[in-house]
Amino acid sequence: MTSSAVDPQVLAAARRRTFLALFTALAVALHTLEYLLPAPAPWFRLGFANILTLAALFLYGPRAAWGVTLGRVLLGSLVVGTLFSPGFFLSLAGGTAATAVMTAAYRLGGRRIGPVGVSALGAVGHALGQLALAYLLLVRHPGLWQLLPAFLLFALGAGLANGFAASWLLDLLRGHPAFRGEQEE
């Protein structure tokens, strides 16, 4: 294919859209798979789909990350069948809090912070977001917060795993011919 005739900017835009769509699809897949795993408590999930949010964040920036997260929560709930159920709101709260924290950390940290650090912070945000929503909407019970330390530990573990996975994914992608010449934001 004589791609030399294609405007590199158009190509880059197309590549970005394609990959973000792929990321979202993969995030939905992970979101769905999570329902098969044992969970710390009913409706709470570990948030592995955040790996793709991380990848989007580091490759394409905060806006892309938000797109992947929100797309994943909406589509994922449709696929699993939990749209507008408590599980959906917990997902939304967790995903939103995680993404907010991650984009903030990315912006503030710049070159000094890597996917692992961002992910760790995001995972903590994810757990806090879910618990806060559960408290406000479901169970107005101070005893709920007793779960917090255990949740956070789980979340941190998942966050680290996500971070390493995202780091590996980013290496793979950046090394791929399709990304040669790609400029990071």
Binding site: L33, Y35, L36, L37, P38
Partner: protein, 332 residues
């Protein structure tokens, strides 16, 4: 390439294992609802049944069956059959359900030599257990309230009831709750449920077993509110316990409880609690009350002659039980 394929295979195996493992975390389905009826909390539990059973509908049917019994037989409602019977001077035509229940009550009354009585309405009102100002009535008032009671106090011809004396007041409290539980079980059966329990504040009946093993029914310890006296392993049976700790008041250090002995109009004092296992909750309810009044020996004989099983805690705390119950009891 083969390394990737191996990795992919490993991932698939891992995911399948997780999928299977994740599923197992779910509890064997117990579907419970509780509602306040008949002055107590009634809880219906359904176990994972067939897929073509509408659990919600069955649950609703069970509760409405019990509400219907309450409406018909509650002494507290002005429009119940009980209220009308109390007000009646001559014969009164009642519903088939009420007639059946009265017939059962009269049979237990006769079999127990009057230890169980359906016409203690005035006596109960006198003592005031149902309200917030219970008191010890004087002897004259008690004698007056006992007038006309006994196994012959009601004459039942088909669906027509005649009181021996017009002033008699019927109180179905010792049998109606059990009857309501029976109706609820019937409603569940009609809805296709095969494993369930209906527990009306301790008067309970079991449908089927607990998914492959018997239901484990704890018996409240009569003196220690936090302890269980024993656990019975049962299926398809009704269990009712009458105890002196359920409803009582204390004056000057003396405890007066709500199970009255029809012979002297005062709280029966031969037992601390009686647990009866029978085919239906209405029978178990009536028999438990009768046996409590009769005392450990006579009470157990009555229950066994009826075809039921009993566990009695005498006034001094000694426990005795029917032979056939011994293999089904687990002590703590």
């Amino acid at each position: 390439m083969s390394r990737s394929r191996l990795f992919a295979l490993g991932l698939v195996i891992l995911l399948s294992a997780l999928a299977l493992f994740g599923r197992r975390g779910e509890e064997p389905g117990e579907f419970r609802r509780a509602r306040v009826l008949m002055g107590t909390v009634v809880e219906v539990t359904l176990l994972d049944g067939g897929a073509n059973v509408d659990a919600e509908a069955a649950m609703a049917a069970a509760f409405s069956a019990m509400a219907e019994v309450e409406a018909r037989m509650s002494a507290h409602r002005d429009d119940s059959e009980t209220a009308r019977l109390n007000a009646a001077a001559g014969p009164l035509e009642v519903s088939a359900a009420t007639a059946d229940l009265l017939a059962l009550g009269l049979r237990v009354a006769a079999a127990s030599g009057g230890a169980f009585d359906l016409t203690l309405g005035r006596l109960k009102t006198l003592w005031g257990f149902a309200g917030d100002a219970p008191r010890v009535p004087d002897d004259m008032a008690i004698t007056a309230a006992l007038q006309g009671i006994g196994p012959e106090s009601l004459r039942l011809e088909g669906r027509r009831v005649t009181k021996r004396e017009a002033v008699l007041h019927v109180d179905l409290g010792a049998i109606a709750k059990g009857y309501a539980v029976d109706r609820a079980i019937a409603a569940l059966q009609a809805a296709g449920i095969r494993h369930a329990s209906v527990n009306a504040g301790g008067d309970l009946r079991l449908l089927g077993d607990y998914g492959g093993r018997p239901w484990r029914i704890g018996i409240q310890h009569p003196r220690n509110p936090e302890a269980v006296l024993a656990t019975l392993e049962l299926a398809d049976a009704a269990v009712v316990t009458s105890g002196d700790y359920e409803r009582f008041f204390e004056i000057d250090g003396v405890r007066y409880h709500h199970i009255l002995d029809p012979h002297d109009g005062r709280p029966a004092d031969a037992c601390q609690s009686v647990t009866v296992v029978a085919a239906s909750a209405a029978e178990a309810d009536a028999l438990a009350t009768a046996a409590f009044v009769l005392g450990p020996e006579a009470g157990r004989r009555l229950v066994e002659a009826w075809g039921g099983l009993a566990l009695v805690v005498a006034a001094d705390g000694t426990v005795s039980l029917s032979e056939a119950l011994k293999e089904r009891v687990r002590w703590p």
